[in-house]
Structures are given as structure tokens and as C-alpha cells.
């Protein structure tokens, strides 16, 4: 269970409060208006942003003072998820430790992770030789291999086209989101939430609330969310 215990995050004059608990297992969507603090929330959980007050706990363990690399948390951003100068296999292998030359058994594990995301035999390529979707898959392979139970997706697939994005979401739902894991997914698109997330956290007006049942929330949105959902394409 991920607990955000009276968490208060501040970033450049902006303040976000969160007091909620999320059971492990499956995917939780994080939605809300632009500039509402979705990425700030994820930065607080990942450890990129020190909280002003409150605690972050996973499975009862306090993460608040830990640096990002020491947390049981993997993050995927919209871009910059792979080091461009390393091979795909080296990038994925970083999940096992900060080394570029891996022992034979670790190399097998890297190859296994690549096979699971459909990138068999591409380990020797550099990220620039992969398509956008394949780069996303390679980053997912690293997340899988790291075995860290909390996975944060900060609009990780927003740059992909709709079909490719759905494919990546299904990959996340099928491979990453197991019963022991918790996937938190920031998205602009309520369709992403409906597709793979049964639960949704709403971030609006300086506060993160939830989790709500995704279908219920979208069927009867509170005013702040309703305005956001309506605004972009129906005016």
C-alpha cells in the first residue's frame, strides 16, 4: 500500500496537498486540469521534490528521506528515458546496478526482459535506431527488470500516436501491473484511464483526492474535472 500521509509539496509558489492511500495491484490513473499538480505529485513520490510536510510510505516503510535511486520506485517520463549514448541492453541493464559490463547471467536476464516487450535481438542497438514505440518498450523492459514495485508513468507515452499509445498501455496493463505492483499513470486523456485503470486519483485545485472508481468519476465528474474534460474539444 502506498500512503501519502498529509503530504504537502511546494514547487515555485505552487502548493499541493495529498492525504490518501492506494492499495497495491493494478493501475491508478492520475488526472486533472493542466498545471493542477499531477507531475508535482509524482515528483514527490519519486523523491525529486522534498516535501514541506508529511510522509510517503510504501508497505509501511517510510520513504520520505530517501534519494530517488534508493526508493522502490521506477519512473518513466515523456522523454529522456534512455541514455542516447548507451546501447539498449546497457540501458536496460542499469536496472540491475550502475554497471555497463554485465556478467553472463545478468545479460540473459536483460535479453529476457527485452523479449518480454518484443525487442528480442535489439539489445545491441542504440536508442536512436529504435522507433518511438520501441524506445518506450525498451524503457518498460528496464522497469520490468528493476522489479521495483511502484511504477510512475509521467505522461510517458504522450508523444506517441493513438494506436501506438494504446498498445503501450496494454503492455503496461499486461506485463507491469501485477498484484504486487502499483502503477501510477499521469495522463491528459480520460480514455487512457478508462482503458487500463480501474481507480483514479483526481488532482485539482491544489489537492490530490481519491482513489475513485474510474467509471463513476468520469460518469459524474466534480466541477473542476468537468470543466477540464469539457474544455478542450467540445467548445
Amino acid at each position: 500500500m502506498l500512503e501519502l500521509d498529509r503530504l504537502a509539496l511546494a514547487q515555485g509558489g505552487f502548493r499541493l496537498e495529498a492525504d490518501l492511500a492506494l492499495e497495491a495491484g493494478g493501475t491508478v490513473a492520475v488526472i486533472g486540469p493542466s498545471g493542477g499538480g499531477k507531475s508535482t505529485l509524482l515528483a514527490g513520490i519519486a523523491g525529486f521534490l522534498a516535501p514541506q510536510a508529511g510522509r510517503v510510505r510504501w508497505a509501511g516503510r517510510d520513504l520520505t528521506g530517501l534519494v530517488p535511486g534508493a526508493r522502490p520506485v521506477s519512473v518513466l517520463f515523456q522523454d529522456g528515458n534512455l541514455f542516447p549514448h548507451l546501447t539498449v541492453a546497457q540501458n536496460v541493464g542499469l536496472a540491475l546496478g550502475p554497471r555497463l559490463r554485465l556478467p553472463a547471467e545478468d545479460r540473459d536476464r536483460v535479453e529476457g526482459a527485452l523479449a518480454r516487450v518484443g525487442l528480442s535481438g535489439r539489445g545491441g542497438d542504440r536508442p536512436a535506431q529504435l522507433s518511438g514505440g520501441q524506445q518506450g518498450r525498451a524503457a518498460l523492459a528496464r522497469v520490468l527488470l528493476s522489479g521495483r514495485p511502484v511504477v510512475l508513468l509521467d505522461e510517458a507515452f504522450a508523444a506517441l500516436g493513438p494506436a501506438l499509445k494504446d498498445e503501450m498501455l496494454d503492455l503496461v496493463a499486461g506485463l507491469v501491473a501485477g498484484p504486487e505492483r502499483l502503477v501510477l499513470m499521469v495522463s491528459h486523456d480520460p480514455g487512457d484511464a478508462t482503458r487500463i485503470a480501474a481507480r483514479t486519483v483526481l488532482v485539482a485545485e491544489g489537492r490530490a483526492t481519491g482513489p475513485f472508481d474510474t467509471a463513476d468519476l468520469l460518469a459524474d465528474p466534480p466541477p473542476a474535472l468537468a470543466a477540464y474534460l469539457r474544455a478542450p474539444d467540445r467548445s
Partner: protein, 521 residues
């Protein structure tokens, strides 16, 4: 409650080495300055006493005057050259733009030799004048000093102004053309008004600390710079008190110029984009085309002719060189590589640390000149060891310090860029310390590291500053050996040494720069 220990503590690039580097740089700049101040202000200033002699005032006046004149001439001549390069497309244009970068890595003493071969007593110009029955001209004294400064800074000004021209959006020229509006008054003069003061100040600052040019072409009561006066006070008059006083004056001049430069944006000479030619609709007439071609040809000839003369006279001179020149070349390479390693290590450590203190430490050496540092170090070491014994280590340190602002200026933005792109990913993977450096930063910094190493090596290879103050026969570097050959009127051998020096400087620069751009992780 939650003390909110910032996770920053063990995140990001390693920061400790930067603190060590900042402390070392500060000590190496401030201790010599302290020694200078103590000696200049102390009652025991000895020698010429605590007041500046009339000759010293003349040196101060000449320093300011020649720097102002050199900067003004360089900018004035660079305007038509840069405009021609900005609006003309021709085969070899890229080569001309590259040529404008060459003086950065060209040893001063070699350029002086080349200028003497063209404009000097036995040079091409005087041969031509003689053939026409006209009186000969001499460039020793202020004309030579200013000529050499323009030789070095006209290309620099051209590159800066060319970037200014290319920063004007192409659509503006299209708009001006469609309105039949005057491009000069509407677009070019406002750009120059923004770019030229910074360029002028940069060149003024560079000429303010000029030593090797004044040493070789100036001198005497009417063409001595403060740097040269410091050298003469220490080396010939043996008046450390007066040298210290002059060094204090030099620091004040540099600080004033650096302070003034904070008010004006100092442009970078090696930014991106000197390759684009903007479509222009004005200046299509034949006269304008001929004028532009003439300016480009003049500028290229002004740079190439002296270099060609060094090559032409140097090749036969190679056989004429005394064996000591080869030993000097070995010393030069060793000094250059050692000072480059120091400068890059310090610049990298400061760039990784980031922040205002690190930036300040990286820029600190701008406040001092080679001879000021040399004087301070001379005053510090002389009670304990002979200056001869420490000539090479001191030269390594001073060259490293003087390269540091350039190297730090190149590496700091590059580190920031790599960290902005992939720093969070490295944080989330727990890449810290040395591993972060090896896996994330060094591969991303190869190109700026290679370029900075090339610049630092070339600067150190060509340095004729503090080494002249400390060295005897047995410690001489290649530029010093060349200077002594010129002083003995062995011009052929000097040209040979010059050719060797140019080959080594450019070769090392090319190796480092290439290595940075082409190696794969």
C-alpha cells in the same frame, strides 16, 4: 516534524571535487595577488620607491590607448567583412569562416614572425616599396603592436558580428525587401548597436593584458604595456617593489574592464550557427558584390599571407634549428599537456558543482594577467627556491589558470544540458558519484571536453608570458626558444621553430577536438 532533509544531498553530479577546485583556484589567484599587494603597499617597496615613475604612467597610458585603438580598428574592419560573409554564398565560404577561428589557437610569437615577414624591415611590403623607389617603413613600436592586435582580433570580431547578422531572422529581410525598406538602418545598425559594444570590450580586455606582442614588436618608452613594464622591472631592473606596484595597476585595469563587461553582454565567439546564409534581396548590384568580394579577399589575405610566409621561410629553416629547439619543443608539449589536464579537471569539477560560487571561481583568473600571477608567484617562491627551478611548474599552473575561464565557460552549460536531459533518470537509477560521471556525464561531454582541451593545449603551447619571467636557457619552451632566436637575428631558424610550434599547436588542437567529436562511448 519532518525536517525535510533535501534528497539533494546524495543526488545529482558529484559536488565535492568542485569545492576543492574552487578553493585551489581561489588560493592560486588570491595568494599571488596578496603577495603583490603586500609588496606594492608595503614600506619596503624598495627600488623605485612606492610611487609610479613617469615611465610607468606612460606605460599605463600606452596600454589603454593601444587597447582602445586595436579594439576600434578590429570592430571597424570586421563590420564590412562580417556583412560580406553574412550575405554572400561562395565556394570556400566555410573555409574562410574556419580561418577566422584560427587565431584562437595560433601562437602569438608565430603570428608576429609572420607579420614581420610581410610588413617588417626585410618583408614583402618593404621590398615592394623599395622596388617602387619609395621610403621603407618600420612597424616596430605602436604600429606593430596595433597591427598584431588587429591580426588577432579582427577575426574574433568578425565571428562575433557574423553571429549577430545570422541572429537576424530571415523573415525580417524578406519583410524589409517587400517594403523596400532600408536594411541597414532598419536591421543591421540596431544589431550592431547591440553586438558591437560587447565585442569591443572583449577585445579591449584581451589587448589590455597583451604581453608577447609588446615584448616582440613594442618596447621602448613609447610602446611599453604595463605587462611588459612588469617583466622589465623584474627581469632587468630587478625591482620587485616596482613590479608589484605595476601588477597592482594591471589588476585594477582588468577589474575595471571586467566590471564594465558585466553591464554589457559579452558575446561568445564560438556559438552555433556560423554556417547559414540568409537569403537577401538588397545589395544585389555589381558594385556591392565587388566590394564584398574585396573585403573578404583582404581579410583572408591579411590572415593567410603572414602564415604562408612562416611556412615558406620555416621549411628551409627547419634544418637550421639548433638541437636545443627540439628539447624546448618537448618541454612545451609536456607543459601544455599538464596544464590542460589541470585546467580541464578544475573546469569539470566546477561545472559539476554548479552554482554562483563555482561560476565565480571559474571566472576569477580573468581578473589577473599572466605577468601579475607570475610576479606574485615570483615574490612567494623567491625566498625559498631559485625561480629557475620552478619555472616549468609555475608555467603549468599559470597556463592552467588562464585557460580555466574558457574551459569552464564551455563545460558549465554542457553539464547543465546533460543534467537537464537525463539527470532525473540517472537519479531514479541511483547513479551517483563516479558512476554518474562515467555512465552519464563524460559520454555527453565528449565534444565540449575535446574542444576545451584543444583550446587549453593550444593556448599553453603558444604561451610566451610567465615562462619569460622565470626561465633560463635550460627551462626554455618552444615559444621562448623562438623569441631568443629572433632576438639573435637568426630569422631562418626562428621561422623553422615557428613552423614546428604551429604544427604542434594546431596538431594537438585538432587531435583533441577530433577525439571529442568522433569517439564513441
Amino acid at each position: 516534524m519532518n525536517a525535510a532533509v533535501p534528497p539533494r544531498a546524495r543526488r545529482g553530479p558529484p559536488r565535492c571535487p568542485g569545492a576543492v577546485a574552487a578553493a585551489c583556484v581561489s588560493a592560486l589567484v588570491l595568494l599571488p595577488l596578496g603577495a603583490v599587494a603586500l609588496r606594492a603597499g608595503g614600506p619596503a617597496s624598495g627600488g623605485a620607491g612606492a610611487a609610479l615613475a613617469p615611465a610607468d604612467w606612460a606605460a599605463i597610458r600606452f596600454t589603454l590607448w593601444q587597447a582602445a585603438l586595436s579594439a576600434t580598428l578590429s570592430i571597424a574592419l570586421a563590420v564590412p567583412v562580417a556583412r560580406a560573409l553574412a550575405r554572400r554564398r561562395f565556394p570556400g565560404r566555410a573555409a574562410v569562416v574556419t580561418l577566422m577561428g584560427a587565431p584562437f589557437v595560433l601562437p602569438v610569437i608565430v603570428a608576429v614572425l609572420g607579420l614581420l615577414a610581410v610588413f617588417g624591415r626585410g618583408g614583402l611590403l618593404n621590398d615592394a616599396l623599395g622596388a617602387l623607389g619609395l621610403p621603407r617603413v618600420s612597424i616596430y613600436g605602436w604600429p606593430g603592436v596595433v597591427l598584431a592586435h588587429v591580426f588577432f582580433n579582427l577575426p574574433l570580431a568578425t565571428r562575433i558580428l557574423l553571429q549577430g547578422w545570422q541572429a537576424i531572422p530571415a523573415e525580417r529581410f524578406r519583410l524589409a525587401a517587400s517594403l523596400n525598406a532600408p536594411v541597414g538602418r532598419l536591421l543591421e545598425i540596431p544589431m550592431l548597436r547591440a553586438a558591437a559594444p560587447g565585442a569591443w570590450l572583449l577585445i579591449f580586455l584581451l589587448c589590455l593584458t597583451s604581453f608577447a606582442v609588446a615584448l616582440t614588436l613594442g618596447g621602448g618608452p613609447r610602446a611599453t604595456t604595463v605587462e611588459l613594464a612588469i617583466y622589465q622591472a623584474l627581469r632587468f631592473d630587478f625591482a620587485p617593489g616596482r613590479a608589484a606596484l605595476l601588477a597592482a595597476v594591471q589588476v585594477a585595469l582588468c577589474l575595471a574592464a571586467v566590471t564594465a563587461s558585466r553591464a554589457v553582454a559579452i558575446p561568445s565567439a564560438w556559438g552555433a550557427g556560423t554556417g547559414r546564409v540568409v537569403e537577401r534581396w538588397d545589395a544585389r548590384g555589381r558594385a556591392a558584390r565587388i566590394r564584398d568580394a574585396a573585403w573578404i579577399a583582404l581579410a583572408a589575405g591579411f590572415l593567410l599571407l603572414p602564415l604562408g610566409m612562416v611556412a615558406a621561410r620555416g621549411l628551409p629553416g627547419l634544418a637550421d634549428m639548433p638541437g636545443s629547439v627540439w628539447a624546448a619543443a618537448g618541454r612545451s608539449v609536456a607543459v601544455a599537456l599538464a596544464s590542460t589536464a589541470l585546467a580541464l579537471a578544475a573546469a569539470l569539477a566546477l561545472a559539476l558543482r554548479g552554482g554562483r560560487a563555482a561560476a565565480l571561481a571559474g571566472a576569477l583568473p580573468l581578473a589577473v594577467s599572466a605577468l601579475v600571477l607570475g610576479t606574485g608567484l615570483f615574490l612567494i617562491v623567491r625566498p625559498f627556491v631559485s625561480p629557475l627551478d620552478v619555472a616549468l611548474p609555475v608555467t603549468v599552473i599559470v597556463n592552467a589558470l588562464l585557460s580555466l575561464p574558457f574551459a569552464a565557460g564551455l563545460l558549465a552549460p554542457a553539464v547543465a544540458q546533460v543534467e537537464a536531459g537525463h539527470g532525473r533518470l540517472a537519479d531514479s537509477l541511483g547513479l551517483t558519484g563516479w558512476r554518474r560521471l562515467r555512465i552519464l556525464l563524460l559520454p555527453g561531454l565528449r565534444a565540449p571536453l575535446g574542444f576545451a582541451a584543444g583550446l587549453a593545449t593550444a593556448l599553453s603551447m603558444g604561451d610566451l608570458g610567465v615562462i619569460a619571467l622565470f626561465a633560463g636557457e635550460a627551462q626554455e619552451t618552444l615559444p621562448l626558444a623562438m623569441y631568443r632566436l629572433m632576438g639573435a637575428y637568426r630569422m631562418e631558424a626562428a621561422a623553422g621553430a615557428g613552423l614546428l610550434l604551429v604544427a604542434l599547436s594546431l596538431g594537438l588542437f585538432w587531435l583533441f577536438d577530433r577525439g571529442g567529436r568522433h569517439a564513441r562511448a
